[in-house]
Symmetry: C2
Subunit: 409 residues, 2 copies
């Protein structure tokens, strides 16, 4: 007799499901976990290149990306991979059933292309896993009150997985990707980058926001529902990195946890705005209404009753953001505006930095010594970020990794 353990959620990324061989490998791993007695929910991304193929198809018809139609189109990518994973499991003799976002009860708001999960109705999933099935859920997608299909935007499948783990009170959410976990810096750039064994939600959040594998949304959800998240490679049996809310047992005494970077940065600057109340509010309200996620914001000190505002967005959003700014330019009474897509973010992250002086100045000094100009600076309690020229970013990461002693001893 099969003794039922708790619920486990596994998520497989596109690179882990890129072809039939990888799908079968994922099925082997899923089967093993099921044999261990877990009630198992598996969230699938679209196979490697599927989303790009669908985007190319759409582009061949029209350059307009109508959000509602794009969502329905793209959602088929995860449905295809989910059904294939379910079939691969059944071929191995495991009872698996694939579910769309709708069937999995993932209800969202109506913001097509970047929808937020409103609630998860677990009735169907629970009925499947409690009756002995492995539930294979199409990630990245949900549905509205009107039964329209939505997608969750960047990092969507991670968000699906963590949301389901939270709603099902899962023991853990395992995220399988093509890297062995979270590293102190990108191993492609820094030769002696080390894998981190454990990391807090807050640190991971800062790292994720700055280019490391998982999207911050899913980490936020994990933190909110206290779901431990293990990030590891589907191509090895390495234990990966555990993201959780508890006290770190490893890395003790190290102040900086990792160095992150993000090439997906476009800066927009509005020059000579009248320095009066409500200007920033109007600008960012309008950007928010358009679903544009604004990252760093810097406003210079007022000069002569005029001020400059710079902010960064993802490069995909750059044109839309400029358009939005133009549409309120009259109301804002702005002198001119300019977009720059040649920049990059580089950050150091670490809980240990809190209340410890000297980290910011060490970072600025190290970059300055390497003749890397800093365009903007932002900080949080556990992160210091500089916006630098994209051409200098790899050098910057290597220098900071060395400066803060993150390499192998």
């Amino acid at each position: 007799m099969r003794i039922l353990k708790g619920v486990l959620v596994q998520k497989y990324g596109g690179s882990s499901l890129s072809d039939a061989e990888n799908i079968k490998n994922a099925a082997t791993r899923i089967g093993k976990t099921f044999d261990d007695g877990y009630r198992l929910v598996v969230v699938c991304s679209a196979m490697g290149q599927t989303t790009d193929q669908l985007l190319r198809l759409a582009m061949s018809v029209t350059p307009d990306r109508e959000p509602r139609e794009m969502d329905l189109l793209l959602s088929s990518g995860e449905i295809i991979s989910s059904t294939l994973v379910a079939m691969a499991l059944r071929a191995k003799g495991y009872p698996a059933i694939s579910l769309t976002g709708l069937q999995a009860g993932i209800r969202t708001d109506g913001l097509h292309g970047n929808a937020r999960i409103a609630s998860v109705d677990t009735t169907r999933i629970l009925s499947e896993i409690n009756s002995g099935n492995i539930a294979i859920v199409a990630g990245f997608q949900g549905f509205t009150d009107n039964f329209d299909v939505t997608t969750l935007g960047r990092g969507g499948s991670d968000t699906s997985a963590v949301a389901l783990a939270g709603a099902l009170s899962a023991e853990r959410c395992e995220v399988y990707t093509d890297v062995d976990g979270i590293f102190t810096a990108d191993p492609k750039i820094v030769a002696d980058a080390r894998k981190i064994d454990e990391i807090t939600y807050e640190e991971m959040l800062e790292l994720a926001a700055y280019g490391v594998k998982m999207h911050p949304r899913s980490i936020e959800l994990g933190s909110l529902y206290n779901v431990p998240i293990r990030i590891s490679s589907s191509f090895s049996d390495q234990i990966g990195t555990l993201v959780h809310g508890g006290i770190r047992t490893m890395e003790f005494g190290i102040k900086v946890t990792g160095v992150a970077y993000d090439r997906n940065v476009a800066k927009i600057t509005l020059r000579r705005l009248p320095d009066r109340p409500g200007v920033a509010a109007l600008l960012f309200e309008r950007l928010s209404a358009e679903g544009i996620s604004v990252d760093t914001i810097v406003q210079n000190a007022s000069l002569d009753r005029y001020t400059d505002i710079s902010f960064t967005v993802g490069r995909d959003d750059s044109d839309k953001a400029m358009e939005t700014v133009r549409s309120v330019a009259g109301e804002l009474d702005v002198y001119d505006m300019v977009a720059d897509s040649t920049l990059c973010k580089i950050s150091i992250v670490g809980s240990g930095m809190l209340n410890a002086p000297g980290y910011a100045s060490s970072m600025f000094r190290a970059l300055a010594d390497a003749d890397i100009n800093i365009d903007m600076i932002t900080t949080s309690e556990i992160r210091i970020t500089c916006i630098v020229p994209e051409l200098k970013v790899e050098e910057g990461v290597r220098i900071l990794h060395k400066t803060f002693g993150l390499g192998n001893p």
Copy 2:
């Protein structure tokens, strides 16, 4: 102001949506019809090769075709084409919205792979078309009470289109394909085959069952709800063939309407069955329970308390049918069974044949004179069908087309 006319349903087949160019052409036609003032519902098949690609993907993972998973997988093909058609229309400035089978309210039974439509809830479609949108519906698919996705089997998108036309009391259902309409015989085989302008449901039903473009299910539905169906090419402006229930105004005085053939024939013969009550019932109940559609059935006269039963199925169903027969072989007490996939159906169809003697004998004589052996014979009120060797089928079609004077005068 836009004066709203009645509802029109258009269906575009896979060849009419095979690439971006064809999708844009379909959008042009759809736009023109919309400009005429119709409230418009468009049903899309999957793009040309999509379904085959999805089948190959599935085969690369497992040879098993688990029906529920296959349905969910394949349904994405029609979703992709529908969203692309909607986007192509929006790019031309038309208000279009794509709907899945579920969103379009097409509720079915749970027979995956070959589901039957139970009901159509037109609420969402009506709300879209009455508010000025063109509703683009993914064909071939529906959903069960449990929100599982089903597919409608062969001819599924035609069935979706006619069912929607019926439920919406549409003026007409227009089926766009890659041929100019229904012909007196396959123009690829018979050089002087003529296009038929009008044809009754009953005649079309017989022709459709025997290889001509539309699946009989959709014609039956058309007949049931009295939906006029116009079959024409999306690549020309020819008027096509109108299928309806009224009195034919053309073709008057001609007895045979057309010659049809179907290569998709597998014959299964059960030899030396005990000739006792219930044997045939048991056999065909079991085949029906497996969702296998049986076509021609012939039972020979009893000999020595034993009998032979032959029946034909589609070639795709041949293996499954043999398996099913084997599973009841013990109960049936059958001596042996054999499958033959080298046969073909050839039929003459025409309302005029009713009560007119001599057509059957003319047909058999013409085939005999050409040395074409007849394996089985079946007839309906308006059709005579012979099962003949596949190698002889084209010759047979040409001979019958000539025998019954169907060519251009």
